[in-house]
Every structure is written in C-alpha cells, then in structure tokens.
C-alpha cells in the first residue's frame, strides 16, 4: 500500500491523531514502569514508601507548627503569613522557570525520541506540543509534591472550607503552565542562537547572578534593641521591604497566591478573578506556544545539529585551537599532559593507572556543566546564608541558639551533600555504561575502580562540606572544641554518604541508560536518597540530643569529655555501619560482575 497524499488520507482517516497516539504510548510506558516496581524487593519498597509518607507528614507538621506560630503574632500574624505565601510562590515560579528551561532544552534537542519522530510524517508542531507537555510535567511534578504539605497546613491553619483543597489542585495545574511556556520558548530561542557550550555558560552565569541577587536582596538589616522595643512596626516594615517584589501584580505567582489567599478567606469572587486571570494567560500563551512554535523548534533543532562552536567565529579562539597539537607536517605530536596530569602526578604518590582514572572522572565532571551547575547553586545559597550569620551574633548570644543553629547548619550541609551524592556520585558506576569493559578488563580491575570513585568523591566533597561547616563555626564565633566537634562530625558524614552512594550505585547499576537523571530516578537512586536522609536525620538528632551542648537552654558551655566521647563512638559506629554495608555489598557484586 503506497500512501496517498496525506491531506486526502487525513480526511479519510478516522483513527487517533498523532498527539493522542504519543500520549497513549507515554501512558502505557509510565504504567509499565510503575508495574515494574513489583519486581523490586518489597522491603525496599516499603522503606521508600515509608520515607515518602514520612516526608509528607513531617513537612506538614513543621509547616503547620510554623504557620500557627507566625499567625499568632499580635496584629501581624496574618500579614506575615500572607507575605510568606506570596514569597513562596514567587520563588517557586523562579525555580520552575529554571527547571523548565533545562528540561525543555534536553527534551527538545538532545532526545532520541524527538529525532525518531522528526523522521516520521508527524507535523513538527505536534512533536513540539508533545515535548512541551512532557517537559512541563517532568519539570513540575516534584514541586507540586514538595508544596502539597505546605498548602494543606495553610488550609488547616486558616480553617478553610473543604473545596479549598480541590481548587488548589486546579490552580497549581494552571500555575505550572506559564513557567512551562516561558521555559519552552526560552530553550527554543537559546538553542537557535547559542551552541551547547555557550548555553551552559549562560546557564551558569544566570545561576551566579541569581545567587548574587539573593545576596543583595536578602542582605541582613541591623536592628537595635531600641528599635525592637519601640518601633516594632517599622522594623517589620523594613523586613518586609525585601520581599515586596513578590507582591508585583503582573507576576503569575501573585495571581496564584492572591487566589489561594482569597479563597481561604472566603472571598470567592476575588479568588475566582485571579484564577480566571491565570486561566486566561495559561490558555492564551499555552495556545500560542502550541500553535506557533513548531516551525521555530524545527529551525532550532536544525541549527543545534548543524553548527560548529560559536566560539570558532572569534579569531582568538581559532588561534588557540590551531595551537593544539595535531598532525604538523604529517608527524603526530601529542601533548605530554596538562596541569591536571601534572597536579595528580606531583610527588609520584598516585600510581599511573590511578592517576588516569581520577583524571578521567574529573575531566568528565568538569566538562559537563549541568553536572555541577545545580550543585554550585545549592551550596552557593547555603554559603550566602552562612556568611550572613555574622550579622545575627547579637541575637545568637544564647548558647542554646548557637548550638541549635550549628546543628541545623550541619544538617543542612549534609542534606545538600546527600542530594549531591545521590545525583552525581550514585550514577558514576552506571555511567561507565558500555565502556565498563574497558576499565573492567584493564589490570586495575573493577573493584579498585569503585574504591577510587569512593575516595575521589569523598575527598572532593569533603572540601566543600568541611569548608562550609568551618565557615559556619567561624561566623557563629564558636570555640575550638565546638569547631573540632562539628568539623569531625561532618567529615564522618561525608565519607558515609559517599560510601552509601558509591555502594548502592555499584549494587544497582543501569548500564543501558546514558542520562544520569534517568539512572538516579530508578529504584537504586531513590533508595540511595532515602537511606542518606534517614542516616542524616538519625546522626544529627543523635549528636544534638546527647552532645554536651545539646538542648539545654541554661547550659554553660562546659565541656563534658565522657559524654562527648560516648556520643561520638555511637555516631562513628552508626556511620561505619551505614556506609560500610552498602559499599561492601556493592564491591562484592562488582567483584562477581560478568562483563
């Protein structure tokens, strides 16, 4: 059967449209992924399920207690809760924008399904529509999951009617459309004009600017005791000044917050108005993108796969490239090594094969900007917060608060590290992928490769975590004993978290997948995150409750060596067990892996 002219066929064909077919295929694939969970261990599934439920419950309790506490501020509670809501949605909007931009770019221009569909008689507009919907959902579902406990807590604190909850779901569905539209449009535009390297530079610059803006926008304002006693309203007003941007009425987050707030207060007319503003914008811009961006997407996809580096347009870059060794005069000349080789070879401490593997891992990590840009942002923001602590030393003069903030800082640092180890260290072994035979058959052996990955990741991340915790201790003005205690604790936690990630990464490898995001989103990655979080929670609570400075409002700061040592021994044993077991199991599996 030779196909007739498509327009003729289209008129006669009553089957599903290509878009519906694509949705159907995605639904079947997702459903089967879900069913595949049955093949996993029920114990591990129960652990993950309990963790997720635990997160929802704990987050809900914290938000509920926090909102109740704030709402009881005499005369100001309502105002503070309202501003918190607006700020939250403004930040959520910003994060959704970044997330949509990154995911849309990958999904539209670095995706094998897209290439496959482009060779079929499917209109580019339809391909774009499908990828737009897919990217928006991928970029947004986790945010909805994260924010659900907060909105539940907000509803309960405000004693809202039952219809508030389903309405919030509808509002969230509308809210995610606009960042999705902006992300898709921005990714198509950037892809048209920037190559991959330039895109990464723009992304990292944007993130750095974002951190800089945060540093500027949320710089602490000195408040005197006199101000606090006599001019509370003025102080609150100054504090709120920094967050006034969230009340800009043309921000979609403003419409969302205003609708949620008005509905919770029973002002259904005003809430409906803002909901309709959001609906009209979502429909208009959603329709605009779905109907008009198809050609632009095809043009951008063509440029992405057609151009050389845009840096090659610059004479200086071309001159630098020309200096790289090639085949001058037909004679092969290879470089003797760059600064990294010289650094790793310094003193001859590392064996040549070890050096080669470490250098390879470091180069691959460094050259993939997306591998470290998100991490840099997370730790950057944590750094900004810790640096700002120096402004609060007047308020943090009580040993109780100093101790509490120190432990929370260590916990936050460890949680950040857990996301880092799960996202980047866990998939390292899987990413060897089809190349695993190369290192597996080399004299170095797979077991040593896994050990090397563990040591490299541990030493590299220790520089960041230890640095941040020591900075925290310095900013809080802690003494040497405290500093050694927190520094030692975070060092142990860093090694443990890396052992968990490396061990589980070797235990649950996925050699078929080349995308680290997909490797992490599998069962092993989720288990790694859960285990890391459970370990951090247990470790921080153990250290805080039984440490010589823990939870005593009247403490004098006196050092109690016996208590400290016993706590530490328990903590070290727990850490050893939590890290050793997965690493041991992973190594055992690797030792028997058939290439």
């Amino acid at each position: 059967m030779n196909a007739a002219a498509p327009d003729t066929v289209a008129l006669a064909f009553a089957g599903p449209t290509p878009f519906r077919l694509l949705v159907r295929i995605a639904a079947i694939s997702s459903w089967r992924r879900l069913l595949a969970l049955r093949e996993q261990s029920w114990f591990l599934l129960a652990v993950i399920g309990t963790f997720l439920a635990g997160y929802l419950a704990l987050a809900f309790m914290l938000f509920y207690a926090g909102l109740r506490f704030i709402s009881k501020f005499p005369g100001l509670g309502g105002l503070l809760v309202e501003r918190l809501l607006f700020v939250l949605f403004a930040f959520l909007f910003g994060l959704l924008l970044i997330s949509n931009l990154v995911i849309s770019y990958t999904n539209l221009f670095k995706n094998r399904e897209t290439t496959f569909l482009l060779s079929l008689p499917v209109p580019t507009q339809t391909i774009f529509q499908w990828k737009f919907v897919e990217s928006t959902l991928l970029a947004s579902w986790a945010f909805v999951f994260l924010i659900a406990p907060l909105l539940c807590a907000y509803g309960l604190v405000n004693h809202v009617a039952w219809h508030f909850y389903p309405l919030v779901l509808v509002l969230l569905a509308l809210f995610i459309v606009l960042p999705g539209v902006c992300g898709a449009w921005a990714s198509v535009t950037l892809a048209r004009f920037l190559d991959r390297k330039a895109f990464q530079i723009v992304l990292v610059t944007g993130l750095a600017a974002f951190i800089g803006l945060m540093l500027f926008q949320f710089r602490p304002q000195p408040v005197t005791d006199e101000d606090l006693d006599a001019r509370v309203l003025a102080v609150i007003d100054r504090l709120l000044e920094n967050t006034r941007f969230a009340n800009f009425p043309f921000l979609p987050s403003y419409w969302m917050s205003a609708s949620v707030q008005n509905w919770s207060e029973g002002a259904l007319g005003a809430a409906s108005f803002f909901a309709l503003v959001m609906l009209s914008h979502a429909l208009f811009f959603g329709q605009l993108v779905c109907q008009r961006l198809g050609d632009a997407f095809y043009e951008a996809a063509n440029r992405v796969s057609s151009r050389g580096s845009i840096f090659a347009r610059w004479g200086w870059f071309r001159a630098q490239s020309a200096r790289k060794p090639g085949l001058p005069g037909g004679e092969l000349s290879l470089p003797r090594g760059d600064w990294l080789d010289r650094l790793l070879g310094f003193g001859g401490v590392l064996a040549p094969d070890t050096r080669a593997l470490v250098a390879k891992d470091m180069r691959m990590f460094w050259r993939d900007t997306t591998q470290w840009a998100q991490t840099a942002m997370l730790f950057g923001l944590l750094g900004v917060y810790i640096i700002n602590l120096r402004h609060f030393t007047r308020q943090l003069d009580s040993p109780f608060w100093l101790s509490l903030v120190s432990f929370l800082n260590m916990g936050a640092c460890a949680l950040n590290l857990a996301t880092l180890t799960t996202r980047f260290v866990f998939p390292q072994f899987s990413l060897e992928g089809r190349r695993v035979w190369l290192v597996g058959l080399a004299p170095i052996g797979l077991v040593r490769v896994v050990w090397l990955k563990f040591w490299l990741a541990s030493v590299a991340t220790l520089a960041v975590t230890l640095g941040l915790v020591l900075l925290s201790c310095t900013m809080l003005g802690l003494d040497a004993v405290h500093t050694v205690f927190f520094g030692g604790s975070v060092t142990v936690m860093t090694f443990t978290l890396n052992a968990i990630a490396v061990g589980l990464g070797a235990l649950y490898p996925n050699f078929k997948e080349t995308n680290p995001n997909k490797i992490v989103s599998g069962f092993g990655g989720t288990f790694c995150l859960v285990l890391s979080f459970v370990y951090i929670l247990t470790a921080v609570v153990l250290l805080a409750v039984s440490s010589p400075w823990g939870w005593k409002p009247d403490m004098t700061g006196e050092f109690a060596p016996a208590k400290a040592v016993s706590t530490w021994v328990i903590f070290v044993l727990l850490s050893y067990l939590a890290g050793w077991l997965p690493l041991r199991l992973g190594l055992r599996k690797v030792a028997t892996t058939e290439l």
Binding site: M1, A3, A5, A10, G15, L21, I28, S119, P121, G308
Partner: protein, 251 residues
C-alpha cells in the same frame, strides 16, 4: 524517486557535504559507500528531513523534503544504525504505533504484520517488552515497522549491524523483493560485499562529494580492478586522497 540537487551542508566552518547531485529512480537499489566522515550520514539526514541543507534541495517522490515535509516523509521510511524504540512497549505495540502514525487502518497494519513478522522471525518476541531484546532483534523490529506502510523510498543506515547471518540474509531478500516491486532503497554501509551483492548502483562518497557512481561493474572498470568491489573502492578512494594531497586540499 530520490532527487538530490547540489546539496551542501556546513557544520560551522566544516563543509560536510559539498554539492552532491544524484537521482535514484523508482525501484533502484542504491548503495552508498565511503570512508568515515565522507558525508554519508549527513546526506541521509538531509534526505529524510532531520537537518536542513545549507544549500540545494532533496526531493522524495517529487516532494521537496523541506518545502513539503509531511508529503515527503509519508512516502519514505528511515532506519538509522541504532534505531530508537520505546523500551516499555512490545514489538507489536511499536509496529502498530508506527503504522498508525503513517495513518494506516488496523486492518492494513494486521495485513502488513502478517507478511513481515514471520519473515523476520519475530513471532516469539512479538508480545515481550522491547527492553529485553537483543540488538539484532531490535533491528528487525525497526525494519519491520519501517516496511509496514510499504514506503516508496526506504533509507537505511548500516542495516546489518548486530544481525546474525540468517537474519541478514532475510533482510537482504526482503529489501531486494521490495525493490523489484518498485520500492527505492537508499542504503549506507561499510560492508562492501553487501553493496556488491545487492546494489543496482553504488555511489562512493569522499570528503562530502560523490567521487564515483555506477554499477559495481562500472566501478571496477573505472578503477581498473577485478574481483571484489572492495579493491575498486580502495583504489578510487586512494586516488582521491592523492588528488587532495596534490591540490593541497587534504585535511
């Protein structure tokens, strides 16, 4: 059936395809040979509409691939060297999905599958997840899905990768039969014996240009060799390398 007119493609400063003109008539089995980076895959990508030519046009069944993309793509099928398949689907679901994208009715899809599935020995695998299939079986699934709508033009890149000799024979037989029934085949391969056995005409690509085109016999005559087509291919490409060196255009 396939008309390439002065096709040029630049990747930045690199000229990957340099003014290729070629006509492949209906029912011809055309093989493309060439060393790495000769422009074979780039030409195929322009032919199937995956990338735009910098200059020139590609037409399939009379339709401009860029100007009338849907008309052109509905008449061709493309199987790359590592075809994309949905891992969580079964081969039958994938074949049916592809047929539906080509606007085939369920009855036509079943009819086409009844012919092709046994030919490619896929019955055993038809309802098992694709993620568990070997590379060769995946390749057969992709070729079955691509042939289902009886395309007028079939473009395939390295079809024998991962296929055992038995199934490689079947693929060659099916493609030859289809060509005899009027399907134009445009195949890129590094396996010169396959081109020698199958092709009505062979085009040799070198540095983005077609440096020789003709039947295997014509190419042998031109190179002054006999026996395997490989000798002719090596002689012609060697000749081009020398000419490039003499002209100072070698990379």
């Amino acid at each position: 059936m396939i008309e390439l007119h002065q096709l040029v493609k630049h990747f930045g400063d690199v000229r990957a395809v340099d003014g290729i003109s070629l006509t492949v008539p209906r029912g011809e089995f055309f093989c493309v040979l060439g060393p790495n980076a000769a422009g074979k895959t780039t030409t195929i990508k322009m032919l199937v509409g995956l990338i735009k030519p910098t200059r020139g046009t590609a037409r399939v069944a009379g339709y401009d691939v860029q100007g009338q993309p849907l008309e052109a793509r509905s008449r061709l099928s493309y199987v790359p060297d590592f075809p994309f398949l949905y891992d969580k689907l079964t081969p039958w679901e994938f074949i049916r999905f592809t047929g539906q994208l080509f606007r085939m009715t369920d009855a036509d899809i079943r009819r086409g599958a009844d012919e092709l599935v046994p030919r490619f020995s896929l019955q055993e695998w038809l309802h098992k997840p694709i993620e568990g299939l070997s590379h060769g079986t995946r390749q057969r699934v992709a070729i079955t899905a691509a042939l289902l709508h009886s395309p007028e033009v079939f473009v395939i890149d390295e079809p024998m990768v991962g296929l055992d000799p038995h199934h490689a024979r079947i693929v060659k037989d099916v493609l030859k039969e289809r060509a005899l029934r009027g399907m134009t085949v445009f195949m890129s391969t590094h396996q010169i014996y396959v081109a020698d056995e199958m092709a009505d005409r062979v085009g040799i690509f070198h540095r983005g240009r077609i440096v020789a085109v003709g039947t295997p016999e014509e190419l042998r005559r031109r190179a002054g060799t006999d026996g395997a087509l490989e000798k002719a291919f090596l002689a012609i490409t060697e000749e081009e390398v020398k000419a490039d060196s003499a002209n100072g255009t070698a990379p």
